[in-house]
């Protein structure tokens, strides 16, 4: 071990020690609304917490609070982001513990306030203090590129962009990545891919999307009915590692954590002739 030789050096070692333990603040953004930012935040957070990391999810979508619903925590939210920013309550009072994990917490957005009510500097300071307490601070960014976006991004040092294989979504992600610049080292999650449609040439493929965006790919999530079902119940699919989509979220979490696992890639479902005939008679797919 290296022994500090001077008082000055000792001081430096001491002051740099907590900095080394700072967590990562990652903003999940997309520009366009409805591509799955909140669902991805909830699932990635759940998967990271499941790996043993201390995770806090910050809902930065002030005025349109949703992350609590996806996590099934809506009845437990007593205080919100602006209560903390405006120092009405302490951080500990506002953090809502997750239902299924002891290391997952939620900081809900204010529902009755507006995005412009958030002070960028205060938001930045809050994210900094969260980084001291958690391994991961995942910030669920609102749609758009206005002040709400800028506030959500302010305290982050990394970005995950969510894109669906649609012209409008890719265009908006392209714009957001341009706004983010290099500082956030944006990585890509492609959401709602329908492999069967891609196979038929009816949907942009992962390659098509990333030929344009040219971002490091974290993973691809298929458009599965079970995501809707689990969202209905407020139980993120990442809780069920045995499902393909749950496993995909876990693979993304592993990649975020720096593990060298392959990016999850949904394969087209093999439809048997029997199922095809069945679907002709109003098949029972959810």
């Amino acid at each position: 071990m290296h022994q500090p030789q001077t008082v000055q050096e000792e001081k430096e070692v001491q002051s740099s020690a907590p900095a080394a333990r700072l967590g990562r603040a990652i903003v999940l953004t997309s520009g366009k609304g409805g591509v799955g930012k909140t669902t991805t935040t909830a699932n990635l957070g759940t998967a990271l917490a499941n790996r043993g990391a201390r995770v806090v999810l910050v809902d930065a979508d002030v005025g349109l609070r949703n992350l609590d619903i996806v996590l099934g925590l809506e009845s437990r939210v007593k205080h919100h982001l602006l209560d903390v920013l405006e120092e009405r309550v302490s951080l500990d009072e506002a953090l809502v513990p997750g239902k299924h994990s002891e290391s997952l917490f939620l900081l809900a957005a204010a529902q009755s306030r507006e995005k412009d009510d958030v002070e960028t500097a205060k938001m930045k300071a809050l994210i900094s203090s969260l980084r001291e307490r958690f391994d991961y601070v995942l910030i669920d960014c609102p749609a758009g590129i206005e002040l709400g976006f800028r506030n959500a991004v302010a305290g982050a040092d990394e970005a995950i962009v969510i894109c669906t294989p649609e012209v409008a979504a890719v265009r908006d992600v392209d714009r957001v990545v341009g706004l983010l610049g290099n500082r956030f080292r944006p990585q890509l999650v492609i959401n709602r891919l329908r492999p069967n449609l891609v196979k038929k040439g009816k949907m942009l493929s992962v390659e098509d999307v990333n030929a344009i965006l040219r971002l490091p790919l974290l993973g691809v999530i298929a458009d599965e009915p079970e995501i809707i079902v689990t969202t209905n119940r407020g139980e993120p699919l990442a809780l069920r590692k045995d499902t393909p989509t749950g496993a995909a979220y876990h693979a993304i979490a592993a990649r975020v954590a720096g593990e060298d696992v392959p990016a999850p890639m949904p394969a087209p479902a093999k439809v048997t002739i029997l199922e095809r005939v069945g679907s002709l008679f109003g098949g029972k797919r959810a």
């Binding site: 649609e166 012209v167 890719v170 265009r171 392209d174 714009r175 341009g178 449609l197 891609v198 038929k200 040439g201 009816k202 949907m203 942009l204 493929s205 098509d208 344009i212």
Partner: protein, 148 residues
């Protein structure tokens, strides 16, 4: 026949349409968001053309036009004067201080005798065919000039 087979097997290929639309819309977006790029291009264009003729730098217009499946750059560069005939140049001189310069790309039959007071250059055609080659090289070699 291939089209028919594609239709038969449900490969309508709307993803190809999406890809094409996306490519075009992003080109336009990126140009819109980078006015300095257009300024730099204008400067370079004028520098090249100025080697051969004197142009009115203040009145240059550069526009981009969406055509069916291509984006075209239209530059309107007023010419002030043309140098005395110089046999070492490929440019065929004209008596008036006006020249019509056409790049090789748009050699599809613009009237050779009409000598408008402005040069209309069309470049950076990126049609489906030219998609691989990207923009045309920025050579401003005058191909033809008005002959009396």
């Amino acid at each position: 026949m291939i089209e028919f087979l594609k239709k038969l097997f449900g490969q309508s290929g709307s993803s190809a349409t999406a890809k094409e639309r996306l490519r075009l819309v992003l080109m336009t977006d990126h140009l819109e968001l980078a006015p300095e790029l257009i300024e730099a291009m204008k400067r370079d264009l004028v520098d090249v053309i100025s080697r051969h003729v004197e142009v009115d730098r203040d009145k240059i217009e550069v526009n981009f036009e969406r055509q069916d499946s291509a984006l075209a750059m239209l530059a309107n560069i007023p010419i002030l004067s043309v140098n005395r005939p110089n046999p070492s140049l490929t440019l065929v001189p004209v008596p008036e201080p006006v020249a019509s310069v056409q790049p090789p790309v748009a050699a599809n039959g613009a009237p050779p005798n009409a000598a408008p007071p402005r040069v209309r250059k069309r470049r950076k055609r990126t049609s489906k065919k030219a998609a691989g080659t990207n923009a045309a090289p920025a050579s401003a070699t005058p191909a033809s000039a008005a002959a009396n």
